[in-house]
C-alpha cells in the first residue's frame, strides 16, 4: 500500500496530465456502459436523475430483445446496415484504388493535384449540406433530375417517397463523399513505392497494365487489406448522417433507409421506446465489439504494426 502511494507521488505530474482526459473517458465512455442495463428494464424517467431513473425502472429480463426481434424491425435494420456497408466497402475500395492509381499515372502532376483537391471537397462538408445538395437534384417540382426527365418527356418522380430508388441514391452519395478521401490514403502509399521496381519491370518489357498488376497492386495490398478489415470491423455501425439527412427523415422511405443507428435515435426522440432501442443499441455494441476484435485479430496476423491494438 505504502509502495503504491510512493509510486503515485513519484508519478504525480504525469498522473495530473492524464487526469482531465481520464475524467472525460469516465463520464462519456464508461458511465454510459452502466446505462446499458436499461436494455433489460422497462425504462421510466425519474425526476431524481440518472441513477434514480435506472434504479426505479422495473426489470423485464430479455423482454425488450424479444419485442425487438419479433416485430421485423430487427431484421430490416440489420439487413440494411449490413448490406449498405458491404456495398460501400466493396465499391469504395474498387473506385478509390482505381482513382489513386489513375491519379498517380497522370503526367501533369499539377493537374493531378488540382483534381485531388476537387475530390477532397466532399469530405469536408457536413451531411446537412450534402442533404441540401441532394435536394437540389431530387426536389419534386424544382430539382434538376426531374427537369432533365421532363426534357425527355418523362413524368416527374417524387424522389422522397419512392423507396425503390433510394438504395442507388444512398450508394452514389456515399461514394461521392468518400472516394476522394480514401484515394488520398492509397495515393500516399503508391507514391511511396520504390521507383526502381518500375524501371526493372520496364526493362523486362512489362506494359503499363502489367506494371500496375504486378508491382502497384501487390505492394498496395497490405494497406488495402488492412483498410478493408478495419471497415469490416465497423460494418455494424452506419453513418447516421447519410441515412438521416440525405433522405430528409422521410417516413415512406424507412424500409430502405432505416439502419440500426437511425432506429435507435427514433426510439429515443420520436417513438419513445427507450428500452427497446437501448436493446437495439446494445445488440449493435456487442456484435460490433466482436467484429472489431475479430478483424483486428486478422489484421494483427497480417501486419502487426497496422493493428489498432
Amino acid at each position: 500500500m505504502a509502495a503504491f502511494f510512493r509510486n503515485v507521488i513519484k508519478n504525480k505530474v504525469m498522473l495530473f496530465m492524464v487526469l482531465p482526459g481520464a475524467i472525460w473517458f469516465f463520464f462519456f465512455s464508461y458511465l454510459p456502459l452502466v446505462g446499458t442495463v436499461t436494455a433489460f428494464k422497462q425504462y421510466r424517467f425519474n425526476r431524481e436523475g440518472f441513477w434514480a431513473s435506472i434504479y426505479t425502472s422495473k426489470w423485464v429480463g430479455w423482454d425488450n430483445f424479444k419485442f425487438l426481434f419479433n416485430n421485423n424491425d430487427a431484421y430490416v435494420i440489420t439487413r440494411n446496415t449490413l448490406l449498405y456497408n458491404l456495398v460501400f466497402i466493396i465499391l469504395g475500395l474498387v473506385f478509390s484504388v482505381a482513382m489513386a492509381i489513375l491519379l498517380s499515372e497522370l503526367i501533369n502532376k499539377r493537374l493531378a493535384k488540382l483534381y485531388q483537391t476537387g475530390m477532397f471537397l466532399p469530405y469536408f462538408l457536413s451531411w446537412v449540406i450534402v442533404g441540401y445538395f441532394a435536394f437540389s437534384f431530387l426536389s419534386m417540382d424544382r430539382g434538376m433530375l426531374n427537369q432533365i426527365l421532363a426534357g425527355f418527356g418523362i413524368e416527374p418522380i417524387q424522389w422522397y417517397s419512392e423507396a425503390a430508388y433510394w438504395p442507388y441514391i444512398l450508394i452514389l452519395v456515399s461514394l461521392w463523399k468518400a472516394i476522394g478521401y480514401n484515394s488520398v490514403v492509397y495515393l500516399a502509399s503508391i507514391l511511396g513505392i520504390d521507383k526502381s521496381l518500375y524501371e526493372a519491370a520496364m526493362i523486362d518489357g512489362a506494359s503499363k497494365w502489367q506494371q500496375i498488376r504486378n508491382v502497384t497492386l501487390p505492394l498496395l495490398s497490405p494497406i488495402i487489406i488492412i483498410m478493408t478489415l478495419l471497415a469490416v470491423g465497423r460494418i455494424f455501425y452506419a453513418d447516421f448522417g447519410l441515412f438521416y439527412q440525405v433522405p430528409r427523415d422521410s417516413g415512406t422511405l424507412y424500409s430502405v433507409t432505416n439502419v440500426i443507428d437511425t432506429y435507435v435515435y427514433r426510439g429515443l426522440k420520436t417513438t419513445g421506446e427507450i428500452g427497446m432501442s437501448t436493446a437495439a443499441g446494445l445488440y449493435q455494441s456487442v456484435v460490433g465489439f466482436v467484429l472489431v476484435i475479430l478483424s483486428n485479430y486478422v489484421v494483427r496476423k497480417i501486419d502487426k504494426d497496422s493493428a489498432l491494438f
Binding site: 458511465l31 454510459p32 489513375l102 493531378a112 450534402v130 442533404g131 427537369q147 500516399a188 504494426d305 497496422s306
Partner: protein, 306 residues
C-alpha cells in the same frame, strides 16, 4: 537541350499521350462532379425567387438576383446568432480538445510514466465498446445536466481515443527521448519540458489534431439534434436542418391551417435557404485547400505506429 532530352526520357517512363488524355478526362470529370453540387447551390442562391418558382433550379437562370443575400443580412439575426454559436463552439472546443488530448497523449508516450499501460488501455477500450446513443444521452442530459447548454455541444466531442493514438505516435517519432532526458538533467520540470520543448517540436501533430477537431465542431449537428432545444443555442448546421423541417411541417399542414400563411412568410424562401447553405459552407471552402496538406499528413501518420 537538356530539358528536351529529359522530357523524352520521362515520356518513356510514362503512359502514352492518348491514355494520358483519357485519364485526365476521367479524373477531371469526377473532380468536377465533386465540386459541382456546391456551385449549383451557389447559382440557385443567386436566382431570382419568382424565376425559380416558375422554372425550378436551373444552371443558367433567366433572372439573377442578390435578393436572397440582402434578405438574410436585413432580417435574419438567426443566421448571425448561429454563426456566433458555431464559432464559439469551434474555438472553445478545439482549444479544450487540444489541451486534453495533448496532455493525455504525452503522458502515455513517456516510458518513465509508471501507469502508461493502464491509461493506454483505458483509452483504447473506449474504441472497442461504447454504451451507445441512449445511455450516453442519459448521462449527458440527466447526470451531467448539460441539456440546453453550450457544453452539450462542446464536451461530447472533446476527446476520442483515436486522436490520442495519432498524437502519441507523433510524439514518439518527433520528440526523441534523449531531448526530454537532457532537459531533465538541465533541471527542467516535467511541465516545463512539455511546454517549452515537447509542444514546439510536435506542432505538426498538434495542427493535424486541431484541424480534425475544428472540422468536427464546425460540421456537427448531431449533438444539437440530441441536446439543444433553446433557439438561441442552435449552431449553423443544425439551424439549416430546422429550417428544412419547419418548412415541411408547414407545407404538410397548410391546407387546413389558418396560421400557416403568416408562418410561411416568416420563414426564408427557397433562395435564401440556399444562400444560408452557401454562407455556412463558405469558410470551409476557403480554408480546406490549405488544410488538405495536414489531413493527408494526419492520415498517413495515423497508419504508422511505434
Amino acid at each position: 537541350m537538356a530539358s528536351e532530352k529529359e522530357r523524352k526520357k520521362r515520356d518513356f517512363h510514362h503512359i502514352s499521350r492518348g491514355w494520358n488524355a483519357v485519364l485526365n478526362v476521367i479524373a477531371g470529370v469526377f473532380a468536377f462532379l465533386c465540386v459541382f453540387p456546391f456551385l449549383f447551390v451557389v447559382i440557385i442562391s443567386l436566382t431570382d425567387e419568382k424565376t425559380l418558382a416558375r422554372d425550378g433550379y436551373r444552371l443558367l437562370p433567366a433572372q439573377w438576383s442578390l435578393e436572397a443575400y440582402r434578405f438574410i443580412f436585413r432580417t435574419s439575426d438567426t443566421l448571425l446568432r448561429s454563426y456566433g454559436v458555431t464559432i464559439a463552439v469551434t474555438v472553445i472546443g478545439t482549444v479544450i480538445s487540444l489541451i486534453l488530448i495533448s496532455l493525455y497523449a504525452y503522458a502515455i508516450s513517456r516510458k518513465s510514466f509508471r501507469y502508461r499501460r493502464f491509461f493506454s488501455i483505458f483509452a483504447i477500450l473506449t474504441m472497442l465498446f461504447n454504451g451507445g446513443m441512449i445511455p450516453t444521452y442519459m448521462v449527458v442530459s440527466q447526470l451531467l445536466g448539460l441539456k440546453d447548454t453550450i457544453w452539450a455541444l462542446i464536451l461530447p466531442l472533446a476527446m476520442n481515443a483515436f486522436y490520442i493514438m495519432i498524437l502519441r505516435t507523433f510524439y514518439s517519432t518527433s520528440v526523441p527521448d534523449a531531448i526530454v532526458e537532457s532537459a531533465k538533467i538541465d533541471g527542467a520540470g516535467e511541465f516545463y519540458t512539455f511546454l517549452k520543448i515537447v509542444l514546439p517540436l510536435s506542432l505538426p501533430g498538434l495542427a493535424t489534431i486541431g484541424l480534425f477537431s475544428t472540422l468536427g465542431y464546425w460540421n456537427d449537428w448531431f449533438n444539437a439534434l440530441l441536446y439543444i432545444d433553446n433557439p438561441n443555442l442552435v449552431p449553423l448546421q443544425s439551424m439549416l436542418m430546422r429550417i428544412e423541417s419547419s418548412i415541411q411541417f408547414i407545407q404538410q399542414n397548410s391546407q387546413n391551417s389558418s396560421m400557416s400563411l403568416a408562418a410561411l412568410q416568416s420563414i426564408p424562401q427557397d433562395t435564401s435557404r440556399m444562400a444560408m447553405v452557401v454562407l455556412a459552407t463558405l469558410p470551409i471552402i476557403f480554408a480546406y485547400p490549405f488544410f488538405q496538406r495536414y489531413f493527408v499528413q494526419g492520415l498517413t501518420v495515423g497508419a504508422v505506429k511505434e
